[in-house]
Structures are given as structure tokens and as C-alpha cells.
Amino acid sequence: MSDPIRSEIDREIADNTILVYGKGTKDAPQCGFTLETIQFFNAFGYPFEVINVLENMPKRAALSEMTDWPTLPKVFIKGQFFGDTDILGPMAHNGELQAVLDDAFAGRNIKPTIQLR
């Protein structure tokens, strides 16, 4: 655990209930899938953070190794890895994701600003 990159990742995951590692920022996504993921979570209305790792190859390598997932974006919810919108989309469709998010934010007095129908 003395690896500084891994420590940084662990801290970021612990600090953000919904965390997206992507290419670009929330305001200026630099990849279609990162944009798609931002729009996806905007629709849920829960707070989420995007960390840009586009230029940070060592960190990208560390993230890929720890998740066994080669591509960006990478989404973590309450510390658990959920892949990308290819995974989250079907989970949203069958209601599984709402349960995950409700659980992740339970007792935190954070309510989504937009409710999905």
C-alpha cells in the first residue's frame, strides 16, 4: 500500500460516492464514452465526480490492473467497480442501479435532483 498511485486512487474512491475516471473533465469531456457517462449520471441527479486521467498513463495502467478492465471510463460507486455505461445502462433499465445508488447514498441526506420516471 506504499505505492503512491494506488494510495491516490484509493483516496479518490473513498472520497467520492460516485467516481468516474475518464478522458477529460465534466465541463470538457474529450471522449464520447466519457460524455455519455456524464450525461448518464446527470440524469440520475446524484452528485458525482469525474477525474481526468487522459494524460496520466501510469495511473491509467494502475486502474486497469486493479479492475481488470482495459478501457476508460471506469465507474466506481461506493468503492465498488461497475465498469462503464455498457454495464450501467442495463442495470438502470432493470432497476438494479437505482437500488445500488439508494444504498450508496442512504442516510446521507442527499436526494437526487432529478427523478427518473
Binding site: 464520447g32 478501457t71 461497475f82 465498469g83 455498457d86
Partner: protein
């Protein structure tokens, strides 16, 4: 850039019974949607299904033939 035949061959090298549908998202043959049906997905979580597909296409990821790939999977009952 990769043509459909090469993509299917690549996927079947790892997932032999894969039935593959490919959509070229941008007309540039490097951004794709794929739908893959296979019995190899039995008992696998969605994450693990996608890991298997990514493993199959890794050579084309690494040399840049595939830039973007959205993956859907479906279990083929054997």
C-alpha cells in the same frame, strides 16, 4: 480500421461460438457497437462478459484498429 470479417474472426478466436452483429457508429470503421451472442457467457456477470470480449479484441485495441467499442452481450442457450 477493421473490417467486419476480421472483427468476427478476432472475436471467434477467443469465443468460438460467438454470433456477432456489428454496427459502424461513425462510418470510419474504428468506432463500433457490437452485439455478441455466445454460450461462453453462461454463469458470467455482465462485467466478466465484457472482460471476455475485451480480451478477444485486445490485439485490435492495442494496434489502434479499434478506437471505440460499445458492447452488448446475450447468452446463447446451448
Amino acid at each position: 480500421m477493421i473490417d467486419d470479417e476480421s472483427m468476427v474472426a478476432l472475436i471467434r478466436a477467443t469465443i468460438p461460438d460467438a454470433q456477432v452483429q456489428i454496427w459502424d457508429r461513425t462510418g470510419t470503421m474504428d468506432h463500433f457497437d457490437v452485439l455478441i451472442r455466445s454460450s461462453a457467457f453462461a454463469g458470467k456477470s455482465l462485467l466478466d462478459r465484457h472482460r471476455l470480449v475485451e480480451k478477444a479484441v485486445k490485439p485490435a485495441r492495442d494496434d489502434g484498429r479499434i478506437h471505440a467499442l460499445a458492447i452488448r452481450t446475450d447468452l446463447l442457450e446451448s
